[in-house]
Amino acid sequence: MTVETPALVAPTPLWRRLLNHHSFLIGATLFGSVVLVALLADLISPHDPLRNNFRYRLGAPNDIHWIGTDRAGRDVLSRIFHGSRVSLRIGLMVVVVTGVFGALIGGLAGYFRRIDNVVMRVMDAMMAFPGILLAIAIAAVLGPSEFNAVLALSITYTPRTARVARAAVLVIREMPYVEAARAVGAGHARILLTHILPNSLTPLVVQLTYVFAITILAEAVLSFIGVGPPPPLATFGNIIADGRDFIQEAPWICLYPGLAIATTVLGLNLIGDGLRDALDPRMKVDLR
């Protein structure tokens, strides 16, 4: 541990601060329930999300189909349950890829100042494209699939994460403990892995929470446009796209998956706010 100026009061442990943070608790509850639904989708879905029932097309909500059926008579609730699984899976994979590459690119650019200018100009250029448009274009070029959606979204959101990582590293590399490590002969790899990485995790974790939220929204757009994971697979965006032409006679097909997206994203945003406040109240984060 580093030597810090002695605090007058012992700092409250992190989990304590999080448990006292109201919006974090609300966010964790919202997001936690979505995760639970996704994990238990097979058990709690009242119907098979892919089974057609043409005798009950565009069926209004009733005792059997609680929030109605879509144009193939598929149960919307079961599709949302299974869709949450796909959407969360994509979000999680994007967070992991973005986290690894963002930390790597941003960390190296911040640490080795010689490559900084070139690397960050490339990142700037990638951020000059409206994020969602870049993701749509890459996904379209690669072809619609779950893997390609992950790839497109990761390429789109890595530069933003790299910028956050770089900003953190720029501060940490000037810290006395890094100088001390260098003085006792630690190599670049050791300094980066044991000193800089652990200390720059805080802003990264907060940023990745927001990336998760944006990814859920962006994945829905990709599916809605038709360049995401192809139907009949249920994702939040696919269900909405399915119901789009029936907004007049069967509004429930579009309405509920949107609420599911909102719950997930709101939960993640609240968690992000809570983490940010608890980890460092003065920290500024690049939203989107």
Binding site: F129, P130, G131, I136, I138, V141, V221, R244, C254
Partner: protein, 315 residues
């Protein structure tokens, strides 16, 4: 000021160069090109090869790259394969529609967002603050295209107040234009209203703690002057940066919202091209939106220097 401006302009050049390179490379590495689609399902290999040659798709990387830049410098983005006309013309024709949608959404986000943020900061920790910030966060968490659909259901289908979609030329019928733009602009703006309201509130709370605000109050200035003049000028500094970012997000969002409301703008053009693999149009659309975004941020940098004269000496 002129030197500052020149510096910012020069810094934008490499970014634009890389932007154009990324745009080119993205399309270059596409597996399969448009020639197969043009030739039709029954065409043989020779027919596809002939079409590839016509569009120059069989030339090596460096030749195509040089050709791309040579044409670009003349403002030529190539020929749309499916529309059979120049990409530049097709985009420019639809650009005013997309820009007016983005502009209207920006106007809504900036006015409502900043007003809400200031209000929340002045009533900090009251129910007004909590209510507005909850709504702001909810707005930030809603998918804009879905919001568009819900609005169509409510305001167009159920209440019948506004059209479900389509576009009316501003010059033909200004009221009709506003009616056709109201829902898409609002759906688009809501996310940014939330973002700007949160940002303005945070910045305002920061500023209200400063010594010069206490001094202004101690001098006996009325609250209206303290907030409206002393505080707001300083609040705007970080907020202007966020507005610059908002433009990029709104531009991207407009492309999706145009699908929902059947507005014949650049977004419909690009998405149509994406679904039918008309790559020159995708290339042109990407390049153009990115360029607009870079230019807007250049403008923001300049505005920033106007709002806060200290910035000019920093770099």
């Amino acid at each position: 000021m002129i030197r500052f401006l020149a510096n910012r302009l020069i810094a934008a050049v490499p970014v634009l160069l890389i932007v154009s390179l990324i745009t080119f490379v993205l399309i270059y590495f596409v597996p399969g090109d448009v020639s197969a689609e043009l030739a039709g399902p029954g065409a043989g290999k020779e027919e596809v090869a002939r079409i590839r040659a016509v569009y120059g798709l069989d030339r090596p990387f460096h030749e195509r790259l040089l050709g791309w830049y040579a044409a670009l410098l003349q403002g030529d983005l190539g020929q749309s394969v499916l529309l059979g006309r120049s990409v530049t013309a097709a985009i420019l024709e639809r650009l005013p529609i997309t820009l007016s949608l983005t502009g209207l959404a920006l106007l809504l986000s900036v006015t409502i967002g900043i007003a809400t943020g200031v209000l929340a900061a002045m009533r900090v920790n009251t129910w007004v603050d909590q209510a507005t910030m909850t709504v702001a966060l909810a707005g930030l968490s809603l998918p804009d295209f879905w919001l568009g659909l819900v609005m169509i259901y409510f305001f167009a289908v159920t209440l019948g107040w506004l059209p479900t979609g389509g576009y009316v030329e501003l010059t033909v019928d200004p009221l009709g234009w506003l009616r056709s733009m109201a829902l898409p602009a609002l759906a688009l703006a809501l996310t940014q209203i939330g973002l700007l309201a949160r940002m303005t509130r945070a910045s305002m709370l920061d500023v209200l703690r400063q010594d010069f605000i206490r001094t202004a109050r101690a001098k006996g200035l009325p609250n209206r002057i303290v907030i409206g003049k002393h505080a707001l000028a300083n609040v705007m500094i970080p907020v202007v940066t966020v507005i610059g970012l908002s433009v990029g997000i709104l531009l991207g969002g407009a492309i999706v919202i145009e699908q929902v409301f059947s507005i014949p703008g650049v977004g419909r053009l690009i998405i149509g091209a994406i679904l039918r693999r008309d790559f020159p149009v995708i290339q042109g659309g990407l390049l153009l939106t990115a360029t607009i975004f870079v230019l807007v941020n250049l403008l923001v940098d300049v505005l920033y220097a106007v709002v806060d004269p200290r910035v000019r000496y920093d770099r």
